[in-house]
């Protein structure tokens, strides 16, 4: 076992964040995907250092570059406390394994975590307000209304697939987001299996057992998700598509770690989990139909089919055997947190849907007229540069002044190739990255049209 080599109490949070991000697992890579290792999750230290941690994100900035950076960092903080072992074993990856779980880096993560969480999630406390004297009847009425609304709501994501210029690319943008949870499914849930909290602990365990396939690896939900990925030609290594996670989807995924790492979040977690379990079944049934329509019979939809079935049970179990008994037993303060969890996950879901639909609908196209690039900010992209993606914080136009670049905006599918003189608009909130095979110069301007 390795122990912490040194502890400095003189560092401030920013320095601890910098120390965490400077660790080798978070170093850059050159490819647009992360190959064959769960231990590499690039973090741009410069962009992290520029974040103003005392000015938390807002709902309006949920799909921003700051949110992207903060949630990449936070996901690494959480997942460096979760066990990942590569399929081929760690024998050839001892150095990576030890670096990823280094106690020194862990210490930095533990110190940075509360401040990063406050930055990332403070807006929930301001946006979602739960007031008044709650009783069991009100909680039950609210849960039932929330479920009914969600089940009967339009699904903008599935509609966006229908309307996408390239439906398979749209599906794969979505699958890459789902992989955040799908390949590590129920990990956050597992954090509430320990301890001692009565009969509800056993009720949660029943749901967990289903998620884990009753101990049969081939039936585990994450295994079914991996098979779905393979059937559409996607790679199921965790975080293979690291650069293409949208900030809002990382926010939703990190939220479940946030409310399970901290035991004060337990009632939030139960509310949030209950809403999802109670509304997933029809959503996954519809998704399976869309996948079949896009890919034909070659797509493995067992992951969706399993959810379409078992979540009918999980929804009932979570409401009847978990949430309501917990509300009854633990009283008004717990009731408010249960309701908060429901509303927080609804809000995060809306933000994630909006972001995903916009990314699916975006099809970058070369502008007919080249923008005036006088006085533009100019960057150089060179063959062999490390790759990264960013979110446009306002509407932009990129013009290739010399060389040629590829514009990447989805985890799969061909990039848009931009020759010298070509320009492309990037709408606010969209995620993109650039690759060049020779020294190229790109100008960034604001649209004047």
């Amino acid at each position: 076992m390795t122990t912490i080599s040194r502890v400095s109490t003189a560092l401030d949070t920013q320095e601890w964040i910098g120390r965490f991000a400077a660790a080798s697992p978070y170093g850059p890579v050159r490819s647009t995907v992360v190959e064959q290792t769960p231990y590499r999750r690039p973090l741009d230290q410069d962009r992290l250092a520029a974040l103003r941690w005392d000015e938390p994100l807002t709902e309006e900035r949920a799909a921003s570059d700051d949110a992207l950076m903060a949630h990449r960092l936070l996901m690494n903080v959480y997942e460096s406390d979760t066990l990942f072992l590569p399929d081929e074993g760690v024998a050839g990856r001892q150095e990576e394994f030890r670096a990823f779980y280094s106690p020194d880096t862990r210490l930095a993560a533990d110190i940075a975590q509360p401040r990063v969480e406050r930055y990332a999630f403070d807006f929930l406390d301001r946006t979602v307000q739960v007031t008044g004297s709650w009783d069991l009847d009100a909680v039950e009425a609210h849960v039932n209304a929330a479920i009914e609304e969600a089940v009967n709501a339009d699904s903008p994501v599935l509609r966006a697939i229908d309307e996408a210029p390239e439906p398979a690319r749209a599906c794969e943008i979505m699958i890459a987001q789902m992989a955040l949870d799908g390949l590590t499914e129920a990990t956050a849930m597992s954090q509430n299996l320990g301890g001692a909290y009565g009969v509800e602990q056993s009720e949660l365990f029943k749901i967990f057992v289903d998620e884990f396939g009753y101990g049969v690896f081939d039936a585990k939900h994450s295994t079914l998700f991996a098979e779905m990925c393979r059937s559409v030609g996607m790679t199921p290594t965790p975080h293979h598509y690291w650069f293409f996670y949208l900030p809002t989807w990382m926010t939703s995924n990190n939220y479940f770690y946030y409310v399970t790492c901290n035991r004060l979040g337990f009632f939030h977690y139960v509310g949030a989990m209950t809403l999802l379990e109670a509304t997933f079944a029809p959503w996954f049934a519809a998704m399976a139909r869309r996948l079949k329509a896009v890919y034909g019979d070659s797509v493995d939809t067992r992951y969706c089919d399993e959810h379409a079935h078992i979540d009918q049970h999980h929804g009932r179990m979570a409401v009847r055997d978990l949430l309501l008994p917990i509300a009854r037993k633990h009283g008004p303060a717990a009731m408010r947190d249960l309701v908060r969890g429901i509303e927080e996950t609804k809000l995060l879901g809306r933000l994630a849907d909006r972001d995903l639909v916009a990314q699916m609908r975006w099809r970058p196209e070369v502008l007919a007229d080249r923008p005036d690039t006088a006085g533009a900010m100019v960057t150089t992209v060179t063959a062999g540069d490390t790759f990264d993606t960013r979110v446009a914080d306002r509407d932009l136009e990129l013009t290739v002044l010399s060389g040629a670049v590829e514009l990447h905006w989805s985890p799969t599918g061909d990039p848009l190739v931009l020759a010298a003189g070509a320009a492309v608009p990037v709408p606010r909130g969209r995620l993109y990255g650039l690759v060049a095979d020779r020294e190229s110069v790109v100008a960034t301007t604001l649209p004047t049209r």
Binding site: R126, T127, V128, Q129, V130, T131, G132, S133, W134, D135, D137, A138, V139, A141, H142, A145, V339, E343, K346, L347
Partner: protein, 111 residues
């Protein structure tokens, strides 16, 4: 009984003879029964002074935190406020969100 208000377009709800009103406090919306526990005076027409809401009929004063703790269960996200009111006296009585004069306001008169 569930009712959905659009704040601030709606600042009160009528159900039969009962009125519930929205009180904004510390940036949060509380939905309070207007009927004064003393003789049923209209608390939404009372004034707030030094953290207390004074009933306009007989001057009974109630601490705001006490009143808010006893507000009806409510959730606000953005402009949407969902409140759960006690069951109405008659099944024919339905909640009606309205905008009306509410003087019980921490900062200024709200008409």
């Amino acid at each position: 009984m569930r009712v959905v208000l659009e704040w601030p377009a709606h600042n009160a709800v009528h159900v039969g003879d009962d009125t519930y009103f929205c009180l904004e406090r510390g940036g949060r919306i509380h939905v309070l029964a207007s009927r004064c526990p003393h003789r049923g005076g209209p608390l939404h027409l009372g004034r707030i002074d030094d953290g207390r809401l004074r009933c306009p009929w007989h001057g009974s004063a109630f601490r705001l935190d006490w009143l808010c703790d006893r507000g009806v269960p409510a959730v606000r996200v953005g402009s949407r406020v969902v409140a759960y009111l006690p069951a109405a006296a008659s099944p024919q009585q339905h909640p009606l969100p309205v905008r009306q004069m509410v003087l019980a306001h921490e900062r200024s008169i709200d008409v």
